[in-house]
Amino acid sequence: MSEEQQQQRSKSNLRLAGKLSVLVVAMFGFGYALVPLYDVFCEITGIGPGSVELVAAEEQDWVVDESRTVTVEFTASLNQRMPWEFRAETRTIEVHPGEPHVMTYYARNLRDQDMIGQAIPSITPTRASSHLHKLECFCFVEQLFEAGQGRYMPVRFVVDPGLPEHVDRVTLAYTFFDATPAGTSAAVDVDSTTW
């Protein structure tokens, strides 16, 4: 092979390697693009964090469907050994679709320091998530609890009559997360107590 062909080939090798490197960078970007794509996907299908409504639903005059009764269950949990007490005052209630109801959660900060908590709701089954509307909820804003403070927090909600026929039981689950700004947190430092 002549010197010239050699150089030609080496040049085209580098050119191809360059193109492939662009592909590598693009795929790295694609990995990050999956983050917003995932939210879009969740929004379309009504699952995942994209569907978590942290704003109050519009008050509407729903037609109350007396002929149906739906059981709504409430659960409460704490994230990552958060040193709080958190429970639903009512475990289950029976509602008619279209009829607004109020129930109460109780939370208490067990630490001797002020903490901020943020509750994230989750609704199962997935198909019911777009039909259970929270008209008033402690989850819409971050909650400041002084050291040792406890309080009752109401949730006003309505199950709309559009709930699919076969769903007769809906679970509304809240998880409290520690949202105290870093450095001021009195929460258990999970990272250093792992092992």
């Binding site: 092979m1 002549s2 010197e3 050699q6 080939r9 080496s10 085209s12 090798n13 580098l14 191809l16 390697a17 492939l20 490197s21 592909l23 590598v24 960078v25 795929m27 790295f28 970007g29 694609f30 990995g31 990050y32 999956l34 983050v35 995932y38 969740c42 299908t45 699952i47 995942g48 964090p49 994230n79 990552q80 943020q118 994230i120 997935t126 998880t175 997360f177 520690d178 949202a179 870093a182 999970v190 990272d191 792992t194 092992w195």
Partner: protein
Amino acid sequence: MAYSATADEHHDAHHDGPAPGLMRWVTTTNHKDLGTLYLWFSLIMFFVGGSMALVIRAELFQPGLSLVQPEFFNQMTTMHALIMIFGAVMPAFVGLANWLLPMMIGAPDMALPRVNNWGFWILPFAFTLLLSTLFMPGGAPALGWTMYPPLVLQTGEAFPFLILSIHLMGISSIMGAINIVATILNMRAPGMTLMKMPLFVWSWLITAYLLIAVMPVLAGAVTMLFTDKFFGTAFFSAAGGGDPVLFQHIFWFFGHPEVYILILPAFGIISHIIPAFCRKPLFGKASMVYAMAAIAFLSFIVWAHHMFTVGMPLAAALFFMFATMLIAVPTGVKIFNWLATMWRSAMTFETPMLFALGFVFMFTIGGLSGLMLAIVPADFQYHDSYFVVAHFHYVLVPGSVFAIMAGVYYWLPKWTGVMYSEVLGKLHFWLTTIFVNLTFFPMHFIGLAGMPRRIPDYALQFTTFNQMATVGAIGFGLSQLIFLYIVIRSVSRAGEKASDRVWEGSEGLEFEVPSPAPYHTFTTPPAVR
């Protein structure tokens, strides 16, 4: 450039050997040297990862906590997986590619020899970082190689080392893949059209594109973990508006093509060996190429079958189930083409052929349990059980690892110039095959009966099958010492001299150069008929 030899230099190629001394191995850009380095590295990692598997099996010999603490057990399962995938199987395939691709396509060397050197020498550093975590406070990563958050974020001091070593392994694989694509597309001898290329070359062309497409996605995923842990981002933290399930989607978008990265080159190797010992051309070569391309395409749209149990819409579950089952079609094409090649042929059963036949038989068992796992309602039962462990070990050990060993036995005489001991080779095959089945077959049953994976203890009724598996694993591990002995013997040139063709039925340009293959081959391109 390393392939500066021109046509008029051809006559003195014989005294153009490697530089003397150990620095040769550090500075080399020769594809054969680098292939050798990759293969030795892979063999060392195979033994390191294998010892970890033996710790796992020893702990599981009897119920209750007997030998190691649960934390250490979890570190062993995690490190075993990372080392076997990224340290043993992938470098072995890259090593085979380095040794063979240039010779198979009639090129003097890889397209980018310096990149090749760099790609290899990153690996020892990556694995030193990873293995060093075993000695850190808090120990090595212990939450499984899949690194699911939020648990992975609780890893101790090992966490940044884990992320950095994954990045390094990724960079090494990507550089290797770019080099392989450039070599295959640009360096072929005149007349070597794409469809004339041997199947190992084809399998690597497709694998290299998979690597280029998905290793950066893994790099992105672990970078997100890293910034979540240290820089306050919340990609996967529900408290900050992220979602841990998102990690699983990104990880398996990488992870599923990755499992084909671990098997496609094996398909290539088997497609060389079966025709050679059947003394017949491969049945349906073009369909083999299309089947591999189809598998590669499908691998991008089936990832969520690893995570059916996270909860997904019925339509999505059905889509991923059917797409997964569809992979059985091109895979079946390959299996039946191999069988058709054997049909009414004059077969002989030298060691490479035994390993190839073992591959076809046992890989199919692994494929079948994979189909069972693809069925959504069944998967809810099998998920995270020993059935899954049995499935992926059947496709990886008697699958990928058998193919690598078959390839080593097949080409070792070409590399070293001497035949290995056929008696020892056959002994190695039979012991390995018996023990590999003794190890992994009972896992199907205990998995179906409900034994979960990654747990150092189990219910009493699983004891017998676990003891069988442990005995099998120890036997399997010891049998590999025979392999080590065979390789060392060949490398030290002990044994009968191999002919240039090595095997009666061997085909391909690599068998047209002398045995052992000279340091530089095809400095003038060969004529391709």
